[in-house]
């Protein structure tokens, strides 16, 4: 089921009742989620991603705008009439029911023509339990399950009524690091097998990039960029997106465009044909540095960090936004202790120039 958001805005009344101004959580966002895809809503806390999810779900009312599932306008529909399944951040499994009762609960609510017999309910419960691989835990209570198992039960409960859209709120944040890797593959597999359009919210860019078909990067209630993860990573639309995606993060320098060329400090990095003179931010991905004694950019050498196959050369620069610059290079490079400075060439496709005022990308 295709999901379309059109100029969706959500404003909350201010917490301090004396202040009349409202807080805008989501500001005029529009995007389209293709049918059968897994979409990651990504952004720092307070960026409105959870609010967006709850609006798609129907638990939050829209202040402005419309939401469509396929061609159907669901804006005014309540959650139960939208055909959505929601997995809560802390799972919200009913503690007094067994796993089986939890999964069956949504089915027992069905009324009228959709009403199922006991056997049909049981059959569907077992089917979905097998899908998420908890069919051996059906008689247990949620408190007797591990975090990962509870997560699966929550997904099963959301899936059992065959929703048109599956929504997951920070699905991995309550799991430990190992389980997180495993579970995100699991979510990917379940999504592939069921082919249900799935939206999940996360603040972890790695998580979003690793399993999403597309990611939507949000900041302060505004969509910054949407696209295939690798595309967004390689081609960020603005400084925020460039900084938010990637570990280790992008290195940001203060630079200058002068005479159609880009300068960091006094060093000319590259030509920028057609760009007028101005102050800029320069983003360089860690893997965008090429160690070269005759390179264009000189940095103060600090130390070397070895991480398996690659090494990080940690340096500093007077015009860097952060105290350290991280350059990831292949491990053939050897730099003796006490070297005062190192030189790099920069891969052109790993270098992004942003306007100093608007922080928008400058293409050249």
């Amino acid at each position: 089921m295709k999901v379309v958001l059109e100029h969706v805005t959500k404003r909350f009344p201010n917490r301090d009742k004396k202040v009349k101004t409202e807080v805008t959580a989501v500001n005029d966002i529009s995007f389209e989620i293709p049918d059968g895809k897994l979409i990651g809503l990504l952004g720092p806390s307070g960026c409105g991603k959870s609010t967006t999810l709850y609006m798609i779900c129907g638990l939050q009312k829209l202040t402005e705008g419309r939401i469509f599932f396929g061609d159907e306008d669901v804006t005014e529909l309540s959650p139960e009439n939208r055909g959505v399944g929601l997995v809560f951040q802390n799972y919200a499994l009913y503690p007094h029911m067994t796993v089986k009762q939890n999964i069956m609960f949504p089915l027992e609510n069905l009324k009228g023509a959709d009403k199922l017999t006991k056997d049909e309910m049981l059959e569907r419960t077992l089917k979905v339990a097998k899908l998420v691989q908890i069919d051996e835990l059906l008689e247990r209570k949620p408190s007797e399950l591990s975090g990962g198992q509870q997560q699966r039960v929550a997904i099963a409960r959301a899936l059992v009524k065959m929703p048109r859209v599956l929504l997951l709120d920070e699905p991995l944040s309550n799991l430990d690091a190992r389980l997180r890797l495993q579970t995100r593959e699991e979510i990917r597999r379940i999504q592939r097998e069921t082919n249900i359009t799935t939206v999940f919210v996360t603040h972890d860019q790695e998580e979003a990039m690793s399993i999403s078909d597309q990611i939507v990067v949000m900041k302060l209630g505004v969509v910054q960029q949407m696209g295939v993860p690798q595309m967004v990573y390689n081609d960020p639309a603005n400084l925020f997106v460039a900084k938010f995606l990637g570990t280790p993060p992008v290195n940001v320098f203060r630079g200058l465009i002068k005479g159609q060329a880009l300068y960091i400090g006094n060093e000319k990095i590259c030509d920028t044909p057609g760009v007028s003179d101005r102050g800029v931010y320069v983003g360089i991905r860690p893997e965008g540095f090429i160690f070269n004694p005759n390179g264009v950019l000189t940095c103060d050498f600090k130390n070397v960090e070895v991480m398996g196959g690659a090494i990080s050369i940690v340096t500093g620069h007077a015009d860097s936004e952060s105290p350290i610059i991280r350059a990831t290079v292949m491990d053939e490079v050897r730099i003796p202790e006490g070297t005062p400075s190192v030189k790099f060439d920069i891969k052109p496709n790993k270098l992004y120039v942003f306007d100093k005022e608007t922080e928008e990308r400058i293409y050249f």
Binding site: C57, L59, S78, E80, N81, F88, A92, P95, P106
Partner: protein, 320 residues
């Protein structure tokens, strides 16, 4: 673990509490059991040097006494009537209170007021409300005769719709047992509500809101949410409220005094509404400590059995 050489210090610090407990709790319990099993024990006669033989005559006399059976019946009846009614009402009010936003704190305070009000005073007000005869000072300092507010309301509706005057004799001379019990039930329920509302409202507010969101997404009807989610998640508090309600109900005494005074019944039928605790007090007043102790032990036994029964049932129904 405390060093054995240091242990005397621990006992020293505990001693004030231990002494008080021994004198005012442990010894009275032991003494109650002792007195209960000494035939026809009386404190006065014991002080006069009389001795009593060991036996169970106190118990047999108590159980055979017509008055004791009446007291037992009154107590049981009030328990069975008031505990379910007050629990259900309290649940209803707590759920309603929890779902309204404006004035919630104010209403909470109003509902809690009876708890901090003296129950004898409340009883006197209730007695005045249910009165069939009464009076108040009018504007010109003249004594005006009037019935209690309940009868005035009944009378108003009766005269408006049927044209006939109607008054119900709730508690005055000549009133019937059924009317007396209705008044007692209303009063005890009203008196028991605030504590129960407080406990249940606290329980409701500690239920994670996400369960309700999850239920909404799943399209659960309101009645189903109430019975399948709210009540099970509230069950520990409900069990607590019901068990303490029964224990309190079996110890009912002051509420009867509040409405009927020391007569424990309408003036023409003294002791009609007497309770187990009332029976024990009467036996003590008549210097019959043996019988009072036996009755106290029987009361203890009944409360124990009922509580065990409650716990047994709640094991299956309560989800901690």
């Amino acid at each position: 673990m405390v060093d054995s050489k240091q242990q005397w210090k621990a006992w020293l610090y505990l001693s004030p509490a231990i002494v008080l407990l021994l004198v005012f709790t442990v010894w009275p319990i032991i003494n109650t059991v002792r007195m209960a099993f000494l035939d026809n024990y009386s404190g006065l006669q014991a002080a006069g040097g009389e001795t009593f033989s060991f036996g169970i005559e106190n118990f047999t006399r108590v159980v055979k006494a017509r008055r004791f059976i009446d007291c037992l019946r009154n107590t049981m009846l009030l328990c069975v009537l008031t505990v379910p009614i007050s629990t259900m009402l309290a649940l209803l009010i707590a759920v309603t209170l929890n779902s309204i936003k404006p004035l919630q704190k104010t209403l909470q305070t109003i509902f809690f007021l009876p708890y901090v009000t003296n129950s004898i005073a409340i009883g006197m007000v209730f007695a005045a409300m249910f009165n069939i005869v009464g009076s108040f000072y009018g504007t010109d300092r003249q004594l005006v005769t009037t019935a209690g507010i309940i009868n005035n309301v009944i009378n108003f509706f009766s005269t408006t719709f049927t044209g006939k005057e109607a008054m119900v004799n709730w508690i005055n001379i000549g009133s019937a047992y059924r009317e007396n019990i209705i008044v007692m039930t209303v009063y005890i329920v009203w008196n028991a509500l605030p504590f129960k509302i407080l406990i249940l409202l606290g329980g409701l507010q500690s239920i994670n809101k996400q369960y309700y969101d999850a239920a909404r997404v799943d399209g659960t009807s309101r009645t189903r949410v109430f019975w399948r989610i709210t009540v099970p998640l509230l069950s520990p508090m409900l069990a607590y409220v019901i068990i303490t309600g029964f224990i309190g109900g079996f110890k009912e005494y002051t509420s009867i005094v509040g409405i009927f005074g020391e007569n424990m019944g309408p003036a023409n039928d003294r002791d009609r509404l007497n309770t187990m605790v009332g029976y024990i007090y009467d036996a003590l007043e008549n210097n019959n400590q043996g019988r009072a102790s036996a009755a106290a032990l029987i009361l203890f036994g009944i409360i124990l059995v009922v509580t065990l029964l409650n716990l047994y049932v709640s094991k299956k129904r309560v989800h901690y």
